[in-house]
Symmetry: C2
Subunit: 427 residues, 2 copies
C-alpha cells in the first residue's frame, strides 16, 4: 500500500467524520466508475513503454495435477506456535491482511490442534454412533458418501480468537496474530440428523458427545437440538475432500458454534442424557467469571467484525482515497449491517456489504475513506439479523469480568498515525 495519490478532483459525499465516505460509491456500475479519478495513484498517470519481460520470451511451466501459489506469494502463509515440547499442539492463523473476498483457501484455513494432525487412512477410519440410540451404527467414508449431501458456506472461529484484546494494553500485533483464528469455507457433507434418524434417537437423549480420532482424543458435548438441526458431518471443504488439518476424512460442522466444538477427525458420536464433562469443556473452553466460577457450554460466536485493511504492517504512504475493508460474522445468523468509524467511534457510516450475505458465513464489508494524512482511529461495528450489536471493548470487559479468556467479540481498533503507520490501539 505504498503509493502516492494526487488530490481528489471532486469530493465524494462524506458519511462520517474524518473522511469516511458514502458506501454507495462502492456499488456497481457508474457509481464505481465515478470515484475512479478520485483514487488514481500518481505513478499510474503516465503510460510507460511495456518492457518485454523474460517470461514472455520462453515457454512457461507445464501442467500439474495439483496447483500451488506463486513463489512470490510466499508471505501469504499462516503463522503458528506450538506448546513447549510439542510440534502440533497449538494454532496456526489465517493471514487476513493479505486476503480479500469471503472464502479462505484450504491451505490457509486456521487450525487449532491438541495433538497434531493425525495421518488417517480413510479405508480404515470409522464413525460410530451409539449411546442412547435404538441401533448403534458404524459408518465407513464410502457409506457416508452414499447419503444425500448438502453444502453451506460457513465460518469457523476458535473460541480463543482475539483473546489478546482482554489484555490491559493493546498487543502490538496485526490482524493475523490477533484475529487469525477465523476462516470461512464451503462445507459439504451429510446432515447429522439424517444419521441420527437412522440410528433412532432414544427420547432420553438430550446431548451428544463428539470425539475426534487424534491422539488427544479431543471431545465435546453438544446439545441434541443442535445435532438434530443444522449440524453436518462434513466430507468436502471448498469442493475437495476436507484437508487433514481440518479433519480428513470427516469433521463435525456446527454452524456458528465455537471452533473447538466442530470436532475434527470425527470417529464417535454418543447420545447421552447430559453433557459428558470432557477435559476440553471443563479445563478449557469455559468462561471464567470474576467470582471464580466458570460458565460452560457457551457455544455460539456472537456478532463481530474486524478491519483487515488498513491494518498493522500495511503502512499508508500518502493522503488520498483508501478502501477500508474487513470481515463481519455472527453465529446467530446473517450480518445485517456493518458501520465504520475513522474518528474513534465519534461518528459512524454504513459500509457496503459484499453479496452474498449468508447466515453463519463471513461477510466482506467495504467503505471508502479519504485519509487526510492526519491521525485516525479506525473501528468497525457489526449488527446481526437478531439486532445484536457488537459491543465496545470496554463494555464487553465490564460485562464479562477481568478473567475471561474466550469469545472476545468487542470492537477492535486500528490507529493510523501521521505518516501512515497503522498500530493496534484501544479506542
Amino acid at each position: 500500500m505504498r503509493q502516492k495519490t494526487r488530490p481528489m478532483p471532486s469530493e465524494p459525499e462524506q458519511a462520517a467524520g474524518n473522511g469516511v465516505l458514502d458506501r454507495r460509491l462502492f456499488l456497481t456500475g457508474g457509481a464505481a466508475a465515478a470515484i475512479g479519478s478520485a483514487v488514481l495513484p500518481d505513478h499510474a498517470r503516465a503510460a510507460e513503454a511495456l518492457p518485454v519481460e523474460p517470461w514472455m520470451k520462453t515457454p512457461g511451466s507445464p501442467f500439474a495435477p495439483y496447483g500451488q501459489p506463486s513463489k512470490y506469494a510466499g508471505k501469504v502463509g499462516r503463522i503458528f506456535a506450538s506448546a513447549p515440547g510439542t510440534t502440533g499442539t497449538g494454532a496456526s492463523r489465517t493471514p487476513h491482511h493479505l486476503l480479500d473476498g469471503m472464502m479462505t483457501p484450504n491451505g490457509l484455513h486456521f487450525e487449532r490442534h491438541h495433538s497434531g494432525i493425525p495421518d488417517i487412512n480413510p479405508e480404515t477410519h470409522r464413525l460410530l454412533i451409539h449411546g442412547l440410540v435404538k441401533r448403534p451404527l458404524t459408518f465407513t467414508l464410502d457409506a457416508l458418501m452414499r447419503y444425500p449431501m448438502e453444502s453451506r458456506i460457513a465460518f469457523i472461529e476458535c473460541a480463543g480468537n482475539s483473546a489478546l484484546l482482554y489484555q490491559k494494553e493493546p498487543a502490538q500485533l496485526g490482524v493475523q496474530p490477533i484475529h487469525g483464528l477465523l476462516s470461512c469455507a464451503e462445507w459439504t457433507g451429510v446432515r447429522l440428523a439424517t444419521l441420527l434418524d437412522d440410528a433412532g434417537v432414544d427420547p432420553r437423549a438430550q446431548w451428544i458427545l463428539a470425539e475426534g480420532a487424534d491422539a488427544s482424543g479431543m471431545s465435546r458435548s453438544v446439545p441434541l437440538a443442535k445435532a438434530m438441526g443444522d449440524a453436518m458431518v462434513a466430507i468436502y471443504q471448498n469442493g475437495e475432500p476436507v484437508r487433514p488439518s481440518n479433519g480428513y476424512p470427516m469433521r463435525l460442522l456446527l454452524p456458528g458454534y465455537e471452533g473447538n466444538a466442530n470436532v475434527k477427525w470425527l470417529r464417535r458420536i454418543k447420545l447421552t442424557e447430559a453433557p459428558t464433562m470432557t477435559k476440553d469443556e471443563t479445563s478449557k473452553y469455559t468462561m471464567l467469571q470474576n467470582d471464580g466460577k466458570a460458565l460452560q457450554f457457551c457455544f455460539a460466536q456472537e456478532a463481530k467484525s474486524v478491519i483487515t485493511r488498513p491494518s498493522p504492517g500495511l503502512t499508508m504512504a500518502a493522503p488520498g482515497l483508501y478502501e477500508i475493508t474487513g470481515l463481519a460474522w455472527s453465529g446467530y445468523g446473517k450480518i445485517a449491517k456493518v458501520e465504520v468509524s475513522a474518528d474513534g467511534g465519534a461518528s459512524w457510516a454504513l459500509a457496503a456489504l459484499q453479496e452474498p450475505v449468508l447466515p453463519m458465513a463471513v461477510t466482506r464489508f467495504r467503505s471508502p475513506w479519504r485519509w487526510d494524512g492526519g491521525p485516525a482511529t479506525l473501528l468497525s461495528r457489526a449488527t446481526d439479523e437478531t439486532g445484536y450489536v457488537q459491543p465496545s471493548r470496554s463494555r464487553l470487559i465490564a460485562d464479562r469480568g477481568a478473567r475471561a479468556a474466550y469469545h472476545f467479540n468487542g470492537i477492535a481498533s486500528w490507529g493510523v498515525a501521521q505518516g501512515g503507520e497503522v498500530r493496534h490501539v484501544y479506542a
Copy 2:
C-alpha cells in the same frame, strides 16, 4: 460408491419415471431425516467396536504455513495433455466426479494455456491501458491494490469444454475428460470500468484488446460494453492471490464469457474502434458453420448442466437410494431450474438447487433417485433466468451443423447398466 443397501422400508414420493424421487426429500430439517432410514447402507447397520488406530497413539504432524491435501486424496487431481513438442500448451481438467459443492479449490481449477505458465515477478509486471483513451495509464500491482475492490463467485468455462459431444459416437470417458474445462471460484479485484474511467474513454472506442504476458501473447477483443460492465481485473482467487496457472498477478474476469476471453497474466488493454482480429479469435475460438464460414465473437456460455455423480468410474453396487448430483450454470444469469431424468428424457423431475444460487456461478443440484438395479439413462436439463432451456444434443447439432467445435451445451447422458456400471451414452 460400492455399498449395498437394504430395501427401503417406505417409498418416498416418485417425481419422474425410473425412480426419480421428489426433490423436497433433500430440503432441510425433518424432511432430510425422513429419508434417512431409506438410504441406510447394510454394512452400517451393526455397530462395530472401534479400533484404536495407530494415529491415535502418537502425536500427529506439526503446523505448516501452507496446507496440502491428504496423501490418500492423491487421485483427486487434474488430468492434462499438451500439444506435441510442448509441455504447457494444452489443458488440465477439474475432477468434478470427486468433488462436491460449488467452489473449485485453486489447486484443481482447470487451466488452458497456449504457451505454459509464465513465472511473473509481480514487482516488475505492469498493466498498460492505452489506445483510444484520453490519457494512457500504467498500473503496478500495488497501484491496483489501492482501488476499491469487489468480489464475485463466478464460473469460468473453456469454449472447448464438452466438445467431445460433437462426435458421432459417445466417447467412453467420464466427467473429468469430457466436462472438466469448467471451474468456479470467488474472484476479487478492481472493476475494469473504474480503470477505464481513470484513463478516460474516447467516444470512438467500441472494443478493447486484452493481452496476456505469457509467451504466446494470448490476446482477445472484447466489446467495450462488457469492459464497462461487470468486467474485473481479478487479483484474488478464493481469497488468496490468483494462482500463476490462473493469471498471477492479475487476470481479466468476464463473468459468463468463454474462458479464453478471460485473459490471464493481463498486461495490456487497448481501446479500439473495432476488434483487433488476433490469432486467438480468428484461427481459433470461432464457430465453423456447415457452409465453411465461421461465426466470431460468440462470448457468453449458454445454460448447461452436467451430472457429476453417478458418472463413469463411479460404479453402483446395489439397488437402493442414490443422490443424483451435478452442476448447472449459465453465462446469462442465474439458474432458474434443473430437471433430472432417469429414463432417457421420457419424464423429468425438478432437482433441488443448493443455495446460494448466483448469476454466472455454478449451481449444485441434487435429486434423490431409487435405482431398482435395472438399466437407466440419466440426464439433466438446465433452464436459466432468461427462460433459455438447455437443448438436446441432437437439437444443438442440428442447429449448429456438423463442423462446430466450441460452446457445446447440449444435454449430456450417462447410461447405468444392469450391474451398476456407468457409461457415456447418447440418449
